[in-house]
């Protein structure tokens, strides 16, 4: 689908003067750093090197641009490491260990803004921009469902003890990742986040004992 529209020549009219992927990257960086609402169209056009008219012709409006940014982000290294860990690690436990460690690295990578764009870009938003907040919340909820499905499967396969609660575990790891994202935005470095990740894995259920002591 994308190949036909981008590679095949013979498009009528004046060609765009900018590289769509490049300006999307610039927009991503801004949204990632400041969040959706705090990023103005003026800042966007400045960073993207295009005028408002071009932005609106190419992307629709600010909200559509943001949705495209999120879509691109989810396919970037910072967005796919969860899926990659699930696909490549042999055990569910190893997958979560890897997810937490990768998050520690990615969230604090100085090559891009700190934390996770999906977690922080619409943390607070005016009533009028509710749809953006709902959109990101749905993405987060879908990620949690992915966690839960993997953990449920692991329990069915005997990888988790019978008294393990996949739903509670999924939400716990989700909360830890959101906390790590926030900590990285507060300045936490890779070492700190890695230490947090290691401690977080202590919640992994061990066969034969309850998962927590009161």
């Amino acid at each position: 689908m994308g190949a036909m529209t981008t590679t095949a020549g013979a498009r009528r009219g004046r060609p765009p003067a900018f590289d769509r992927a490049a300006v999307l990257t610039a927009a991503t960086r801004l949204f990632w750093e400041r969040g959706y609402q705090a990023t103005s169209v003026g800042e966007l056009t400045g960073a993207m090197g295009i005028k408002p008219g071009s932005l609106y012709a190419a992307f629709g409006d600010k909200e559509s641009l943001f949705r495209e940014v999120v879509r691109a982000y989810q396919q970037s290294p910072a967005g796919v490491f969860v899926g990659v860990a699930f696909a490549e690690e042999p055990t569910t436990r190893a997958a979560f260990v890897r997810i937490l460690r990768e998050a520690a690295r990615v969230y604090s990578d100085p090559a891009h803004p700190a934390g996770c764009l999906v977690i922080s870009a619409a943390a607070n938003v005016a009533a009028q921009d509710d749809e953006v907040a709902v959109f990101l919340r749905d993405v987060r909820a879908a990620n949690l469902v992915g966690f839960e499905e993997r953990l449920t499967t692991a329990k069915r396969l005997g990888e988790l003890p019978a008294d393990a609660d996949p739903t509670a575990l999924a939400r716990y790891f989700g909360a830890v990742l959101q906390g790590m994202s926030q900590r990285s935005r507060d300045g936490a470095d890779t070492a700190e986040l890695t230490a947090t990740a290691e401690l977080a894995m202590a919640a992994w259920p061990v066969a034969g004992t309850g998962t927590t002591a009161s």
Copy 2:
């Protein structure tokens, strides 16, 4: 200090037509729900029932009002439960158990906006409002220092094993609390957050073993 200025009569000039504490509560609710930047002065004056002139005469400007809101919040039940737990619980472990459980309750209390105002009210902010973000980040950092001091003391008193890392633990619990706050803003209820809190306590060091397995 507060008693003299509020109770003693004999103040010159026209008295304020509003209850300062009441309008502060209204402002707190708005800032808590939407965050600093996404809350406009127009919404504030509407919710507080006063005109812009009165707001600026009484509170200075939007930023000063917000700082006063944060100060009041920190002395409210939602802001003091950490200090109360430290003061009332006999052991450090019991204090952290209580902090996590209380956070689960408070963050999801439907009587007020979800989560922690200090954690979420300036999550993303434009460059011009940096000072507000820095202000809240400092508050969070101070809370972490409080955690760390308590844990360091616990280690010195033998309540924690010799290989325990108070700094890492403090940051871990800080991250968990930030994650719980975010989860509550995504709709998590008390039961979910409580389950997360219980799982989080699995990271508490046990004498004689390493704190984590790899």
